[in-house]
Amino acid sequence: MKIKQLSVFLENKRGRLYEALKALADAGINIRALSIADTSEFGILRMIVTDPEKAKEILENNEFTVKLTNVIAMAVKDKPGGLAESLRYLYDANINIEYIYAFVEKSGEKAVVVIRTENLDKTISLLQEKDIKLLSWDDVLAL
């Protein structure tokens, strides 16, 4: 139930985010979810895209540093407390979250969030045990 996320190193320099996104747009790659972690000197652009392997190749050809990382896409109830409930399970199980961000689209009545924890396998089995819906790659593409 792991899905591939594209991570891109961005120097804090005018136009770099635009250039990365433009390269993907030109190749017809759609972005399903996106977040940027930023520090005063650099940023990390994290994305779920329709064709991660191709996107990686395109960005690398454009001199970007890119990495594919495994993450989990988790569907939570789109109402107050929906996300908190899922996170509670991780909290109770003592699993630390590295980062979390939301999908643009919804899956039915549910909102989709991307999450990376310090232990993905443990997170997956825990959430499945608690009947939290985790999206497969096909689910992500179907969004």
């Binding site: 996320q5 991570s7 190193f9 961005l10 120097e11 320099k13 770099r16 972690a37 520090t39 000197e41 650099f42 990390i44 994290r46 690398e60 001199e63 970007f64 540093t65 890119v66 990495k67 990382t69 590295e98 980062y99 990376r116």
Partner: protein, 434 residues
């Protein structure tokens, strides 16, 4: 194994005596025959008679590469042109070339010191020596050739280039000693592998590598790839060519052939002599050259003198491997800094050949160094704290090696300028701020 045991293991006292005799004779000839030296001596008010001891060497003015360019082509010759039997020339990458003239006697000395070098690498008359240094105006090819001929080796004067043929020759002739630049040796190993020839199956047992700066890591790599012993050789056109100094089996510094060359280390900024163990600019004086005596020539090479007795039995002092060029050196907060030190630190932390640039500024009254390091695929992590850790690790390692705190900025790959030859590693913005 020694080529000339009597000289190479001479007592300190004897050596100093010979050096002084030879120095006096050289100074006398230089003053009498070379107008350039006469002018320089007269300018500082030093006479030939003032040189009474080896210590008096420091009274003699330095000779620099630009001095040699001024007297291009033959102005440094101390003999009439009919006594000169050979000419070599250093590449003029930074200006007019420098011409070196050799008498028959000089060629004989060259052969002698090169024979010592090859013997240090384990060569005897039974060896097949492949000379893959360039033959021509460059000194590399001919220098090794004269030494190998003195030894009676079978010489393969392959010169540089035509790499596939070099490898076929090594395989077919059973070359035992390879002499070339270290980077060319590594390139040959790669080409051999492409040709389906495993370099370790060649009969090579040793190699004399030099004519460029290289590292211990490269030595290990060359030795592993070919299964040979790689020795460091040092020399320069202005002095004689290859054969000024060479490593013995210990591979712990290069013995300078002190019966022909006197080595000093100076502070490149002040010109003051530095004691053994202190790094600075190597200054060489020839004491047997007839065609072109060189008095206190500033090599621009950075090294230090090792005075301890070497277990190989040779009494000649050693210099450590060349650590840099004064041209590359930069003084920051009074500390000598070389790009290779920063390179080493980054390589250790990142594990890959780094692209980097050093920017020096003086925002207030204190110099500040920023090192821009290109992020590599191998070290990029998806997590901010890993990248920040990498930055901290780089800063710490650089500080440990260089001795000054620097700021590391990670930049995107290929964002730093590339150049065909030497990369522009240092940008010094200090003068602009003053």
């Amino acid at each position: 194994m020694y080529w000339n045991k009597e000289m190479e293991c001479i007592s300190e006292e004897q050596l100093r005596k010979i050096q002084l005799e030879r120095l006096k004779a050289t100074v006398k000839r230089a003053y009498e025959k070379v107008p350039y030296y006469r002018k320089k001596f007269d300018e500082v008010g030093v006479s030939v008679e003032d040189i009474k001891s080896l210590d008096d060497l420091k009274k003699i003015p330095f000779t620099s590469k630009s001095d040699l360019r001024e007297v291009y082509p033959f102005g440094m010759f101390a003999t009439s042109l009919d006594e000169i039997v050979e000419i070599h020339m250093s590449s003029g990458t930074t200006g007019k070339p420098v011409v070196a003239g050799y008498t028959l006697g000089d060629i004989d000395v060259w052969g002698e010191v090169m024979a010592r070098c090859l013997t240090m690498a384990g060569a005897t008359k039974n060896d097949i020596v492949q000379v893959a240094y360039g033959y021509g105006l460059f000194t590399g090819g001919f220098g090794v050739h004269y030494g190998a001929r003195k030894l009676g080796c079978m010489i393969v004067p392959a010169s540089a280039g035509n790499t596939r043929r070099q490898i076929e020759i090594m395989r077919d002739f059973g070359t035992t000693i390879l002499t070339c630049t270290p980077s060319y040796a590594l390139y040959m190993a790669e080409v051999a592998q492409e040709m389906g020839i495993e370099p370790t199956t060649l009969k090579l047992k040793a190699g004399c590598f030099g004519a460029e700066m290289w590292t211990e890591a490269m030595r290990t790599e060359i030795e592993k790839r070919f299964g040979l012993h790689a020795y460091n050789i040092y020399g320069l056109t202005e002095i004689i060519g290859p054969g000024v100094a060479h490593e013995c089996v210990e591979k712990k510094g290069l013995h300078v052939f002190e019966d022909h060359f006197i080595a000093e280390i100076i502070d490149p900024d002040t010109g003051d002599p530095l004691p053994a163990g202190k790094r600075g600019e190597l200054v060489l004086t020839t004491i047997t050259r007839e065609g072109m005596p060189m008095l206190r020539f500033r090599t621009r090479d950075i090294t230090s003198i090792i005075k301890d007795k070497c277990t190989c039995g040779r009494t000649f002092l050693r210099i450590e491997r060349i650590r840099g060029r004064t041209d590359d050196m930069i003084k920051v907060r009074g500390v000598m800094l070389f790009p290779y030190q920063i390179e080493k630190a980054i390589l250790e932390v990142q594990g890959v050949e780094p692209h980097y640039q050093i920017i020096i500024t003086r925002p207030q009254h204190l110099d500040e160094i920023e090192v821009m390091v290109e992020m590599s695929k191998e070290t990029f992590s998806d997590e901010v704290r890993h990248i920040e850790n990498l930055k901290k690790k780089l800063e710490r390692r650089i500080e440990e090696i260089v001795g000054i705190r620097v700021k590391v900025t990670l930049v995107e790959p290929k964002s730093l300028p590339r150049s065909e030859g030497k990369a522009k590693r240092i940008i010094d913005k200090r003068s602009l701020n003053e």
